[in-house]
């Protein structure tokens, strides 16, 4: 079976692109690209991945072949760990069975179009996550009921803003504002007692868990650049949530003339 270097490279690059866009660590993306290329007997592969781009160079190792280099810029990033896990399986499969590049492309396209969980289930789960987290913190049942509703509304609004070509800061900022506003409203209509616990549990769905974990895992693997970039991402998210909530609370305290 003969495949051109370019075909193999585009297969590997496509796999890497899907992984990086859906929240994989950068060292895992590099590994996957190298593993796929080596499965097709490319002797020289070098890949360099940062959270915003992929660079790959391959060479067949003969004196007369040219070095092929691809650069892929990653612009949008979401979190879909199912796809990451699927591609990980795929790269394992490629190295043991001899799939043709076309078959590989078919599989990757299928993985790329895999649907996420239905929206309704996601909304319900964001509510459950917040409500149960509130109970862990020692909120009352009625508090957790209101944080259930609030976090669903926060999730709806944040995912709506996400489609408006917005950035990380504004999404989490608005999420924080909505959580704080609704928590104040809930306490004032007696749907809860502890305003702090309602807010804390509602903003938990915005917390940058993936960024924190990936920052640590990248730093361990020696990917210092990605580690720093991802920690910065986590800090930006945390600060923007805090600024959002803080703005509302500050205004509220000012209007009430004191801390309630």
């Amino acid at each position: 079976m003969y495949h051109t270097t370019k075909n193999i490279l585009s297969l590997a690059l496509y796999a890497g692109e899907i992984m990086l866009q859906n929240g994989a660590e950068t060292y895992r993306v590099e590994d996957t690209i190298i593993r796929i290329c080596q499965a097709y007997n490319i002797s020289y592969v070098e890949s360099f991945v940062i959270p915003t781009g992929i660079f790959v160079s391959v060479d067949q190792g003969n004196a007369d072949t040219k070095v092929v280099t691809f650069i892929k810029r990653i612009k949008t990033r979401t979190i879909d760990l199912n796809k990451v896990s699927q591609i990980n399986d795929f790269s394992r499969k490629v190295s043991v069975s001899n799939l043709s590049v076309e078959e590989g492309m078919e599989i990757l396209k299928k993985i790329d179009t895999l649907s996420k969980y239905p929206k309704k289930i996601k909304l319900f789960c964001s509510g459950i996550a917040s409500a149960c987290f509130g109970l862990l913190l020692g909120a009352t049942y009625i508090d957790s009921l209101s944080s259930f509703i609030i976090s669903i509304l926060v999730y709806i609004s944040v995912s709506f803003i996400e489609h408006l070509n917005s950035n990380l800061f504004i999404q989490n900022f608005i999420g924080g504002i909505i959580a704080a506003l609704l928590a104040i409203l809930a306490v004032n209509i007696h749907l809860g007692i502890n305003i702090d616990k309602i807010i804390i549990s509602s903003i938990m769905i915005l917390v940058p868990g993936v960024a924190i974990t990936n920052a640590v895992r990248d730093s361990i693997s020696g990917e210092l650049l990605s580690g720093v970039a991802r920690s910065a991402e986590a800090i930006i998210i945390a600060i923007s949530i805090a600024v959002g909530v803080g703005t509302v609370m500050n205004a509220w305290i000012y209007l009430r003339g004191g801390i309630s």
Binding site: G23, A24, E25, R28, I79, D80, L81, N82, K83, V84, S85, Q86, N88, D89, R92, K116, Y117, I121, K122, C125, S126, G127, I128, A129, S130, C132, F133, L135, L136, L137, Y155, D196, I199, I200, S201, I203, M204, I205, V207, G209, V210, I212, T213, N214, A215, V216, R217, S219, I220, A238, I241, A242, V245, G246, M249, N250, I253, I259
Partner: protein, 150 residues
């Protein structure tokens, strides 16, 4: 304590769905999250320090996740990411921010540094556990090659 486990379990299920964890891994990840929280609560009884507690909780989550990842052939992050979310100091973040709003900068320094160290504790726990696993795996393969050469 059982109730705490159930709440942590359900909460982790919620986060797992938000991160699109594969269906077959959701319950396992939630189990890791639940046990991690129990470890956190237990150590809270002894140490009364959120930094140490989060460190211990995150260690437990990371160890369980590494074992599950090896056993079920999944990526480690699938279990770690939802598992550590209940330990993330959201409350500390909120109280830090409120200290700024109340213009109480002593409290800001106190709560803020504690929150930062708590987050750092979680990070260090993940760091230690996964580097240890790498070393153990390396050691195992070395032993195997020595054995096969003998």
């Amino acid at each position: 304590m059982l109730l705490q486990f159930v709440f942590a379990f359900l909460s982790t299920i919620g986060f797992a769905v938000l991160f699109n964890i594969p269906k077959k891994a959701i319950l396992k990840a939630s189990f890791a999250g639940g046990i991690g929280w129990i470890a956190y609560a237990f150590s809270n009884n002894y140490f009364h320090s959120p930094i140490v507690d989060s460190f211990i909780g995150a260690c437990i989550v990371a160890i369980i996740s590494e074992i599950f990842a090896r056993k079920f052939k999944e990526t480690v992050t699938v279990f770690v990411i939802p598992g550590i979310i209940p330990l993330v100091p959201g409350a500390g973040m909120y109280y830090t921010m409120m200290a700024v709003v109340e213009r109480d900068f002593n409290k800001f320094a106190l709560v803020g540094s504690e929150t930062m160290f708590t987050a750092g504790g979680i990070a260090v726990a993940l760091l230690i556990v996964s580097s240890m696993t790498r070393m153990i795996v390396q050691l195992k393969t070395k032993f195997k090659t020595i054995k096969s050469s003998m």
